[in-house]
Symmetry: C3
Amino acid sequence: MKHLISIESLQKDQIQNILDRAKYYRDAMIDGKWDRKKLEGKIVLTLFFENSTRTLTSFDIAAKRLGADVVNWNAEVSSLKKDETFSDTIDTLSAMEPDAIVIRHHEYGAPDFVSKRVNCPVINAGDSWREHPTQALLDAVTILQEKETLEGLTVSICGDVAHSRVANSNAKLLTTMGANVRFVAPEMLMPQKLPAKGIECFDTLEDGIKDADIVMMLRIQKERMDRSEIPDDAAYFNKYGLTPERLKHAKPDAFILHPGPANRGVEISDEVMDDPTRSMMKRQVANGVPTRMAVLDMLMEN
Amino acid sequence: MKHLISIESLQKDQIQNILDRAKYYRDAMIDGKWDRKKLEGKIVLTLFFENSTRTLTSFDIAAKRLGADVVNWNAEVSSLKKDETFSDTIDTLSAMEPDAIVIRHHEYGAPDFVSKRVNCPVINAGDSWREHPTQALLDAVTILQEKETLEGLTVSICGDVAHSRVANSNAKLLTTMGANVRFVAPEMLMPQKLPAKGIECFDTLEDGIKDADIVMMLRIQKERMDRSEIPDDAAYFNKYGLTPERLKHAKPDAFILHPGPANRGVEISDEVMDDPTRSMMKRQVANGVPTRMAVLDMLMEN
Amino acid sequence: MKHLISIESLQKDQIQNILDRAKYYRDAMIDGKWDRKKLEGKIVLTLFFENSTRTLTSFDIAAKRLGADVVNWNAEVSSLKKDETFSDTIDTLSAMEPDAIVIRHHEYGAPDFVSKRVNCPVINAGDSWREHPTQALLDAVTILQEKETLEGLTVSICGDVAHSRVANSNAKLLTTMGANVRFVAPEMLMPQKLPAKGIECFDTLEDGIKDADIVMMLRIQKERMDRSEIPDDAAYFNKYGLTPERLKHAKPDAFILHPGPANRGVEISDEVMDDPTRSMMKRQVANGVPTRMAVLDMLMEN
């Protein structure tokens, strides 16, 4: 594995290796014992072409926990503003020989394009609505804190599935690992083409989460509502918001995931979100750091 | 001491301990001898919700002088822009397990609120008009370079006292340490409620700094003038600007402090500001680094 | 050498020393063997008053390759916005005692001004249209990868010479080192006063690059065209764009330099820019890192 561009390009054993390494770092951090100089003298260059602080901060902390230096390149004030082409910008940054590049880009395929032009590992921190591989990995790490295996689990991914890179990467990872994946969304927010085989589709939350082991809620973006049959926040919440009552349709020990930031009272109620026995949101964020440490470590160790 | 949220919450001996440690670091830096790896492997997360480069840079340098890594979180491009609640943002960042958080926020009480939600030390880098504890500490360190003790000194805090977190934190620290504090301001800029007992109030600079040991000038903000009886810069300078003539009312060896950035020709004349025998402004900034090193060290050493 | 403010202020042997050290670091980085802790515990403060990511990132990486910490001060959110004077801002930052300052400023002389107020080495990362010394140094390093010596080489600097700090610094360095320098530009973009003795001026690209060893193309800025006799991109390219045909006027083994970012199809054609046997653009960027390591090392080692 030279880069981490997509879940789609990973084999089952590669995914398992990353999950194992992530679990190793999670446990090591609890004990306070890991090699804090593993990446000493290495430079991780972050290229974020979309605003993000959550994912950027998580990668920044992960890299520094392994002793790497981080250089944050700011797209806003860059030569791209001077009409430099994207490939010339990438060639320029590559010539400075960073030891790894972490990229987020609004266009599909940008991380893959970059990986073919540079001499260092490239990690996709989210591109378009297609892939966000480290999010799917950290979600799997989180599920595996509570469940023995992903195999045979029923995972319902609910909300704006069509525009969600989180949904796409998760659907691919989970089906590869043997879980049963459901998509739950109003018609306008359901993808036209499913990212993996065997995905079942539902248009009501009640049916979609029935007997599910994991309910993964997605952020709904207001600009998306206008174009669906759902006119506003309250209407969305009425039909697709996850409340304690609706959650009863899932298995009694079902857990809730959400990639954040959440819209309280839109896709999820305060009661569900703030219930520490059901909501895994804080753990997802916490697991993001060791998961990204695992990826940085595995790609940069040579 | 788990956090540094306010001067108000500190006992006299706690203040003294910080001042002693700050002095230790100031002297150690002059000799070039201190433990540059004291905080190696630790991550300080800075959360600045108000623009500031002076205080942010000072904390950034202080943390790095002790070997810590610094992650600067940028409020401008954060999930808050995506309508995430403040507490959800804090919970997210806390889940990433930084080793300390340095926060500046325009709302009163935000640092205290954060300290109750997270598992690491929280340092208030300025909240609303209420507290800026590290500024008051570095001011005390600066005064103590010239004076044996704070006890019995007369310190006149002059200008826009009502809106100044610097004035508030200083008034509390100085009265706790036994100094006599005066507030000098036009009526509209005098606080309705005094932050500590024993503060004397004056509405002319001449009376207010009479026989003072220390004259602390505050930055006047133009938008504040409109709402006071003072119509413009020149009028303010005429009445409240510190000139060499007015300074004669203070003790012959009185020193001038100003938290910066200063408005030359508004609250202070060029002559006073640039007189190295009277103005301590550069020393204040210089002392900011060892003072913040002391705070970081004391809070993070366990 | 205490600071690096300009090429103009350097003697020939000082330039040679920097070039030698840059070459040392370039070779050491290829072998992966250099002192990665040379500047451990030192803080490099970057002050960029003009947007730049290329030069800033290059300095950032260079400093970290030597183990230094980097503090990026952001002019956009600084006290300058609160009407603090430039000299007060500099005094404040200087009081925080960084170990070196790297400054880019739109006003001529700002780096020199700063160097006289602070107690640490100051490196000019570009000021106005006058000097960009590290660019000229890295260009010389790049030329010397292919040519034995700068002495006697003919170097044609082409395009918007009048407004280019790159042209100015290069002309000074190259003439000091014994090269023959030509300026090639339409009249409106030719400087009124030449920066060094012996520079020959041409107003057609064909004549200007005749038998040249090195052709250095400059970025043309669109706002400049309006004021020259050249109305638009296509007209500029027709007359001054470097194409494979025009390049035939230079020596058969002539190399192309460009400081970037390039305007493809304006000052340079895709064919020339993307020809790895002629274009040295990626090498220039790559050499930027060891050149800046050399400068940081030489100025900060004491």
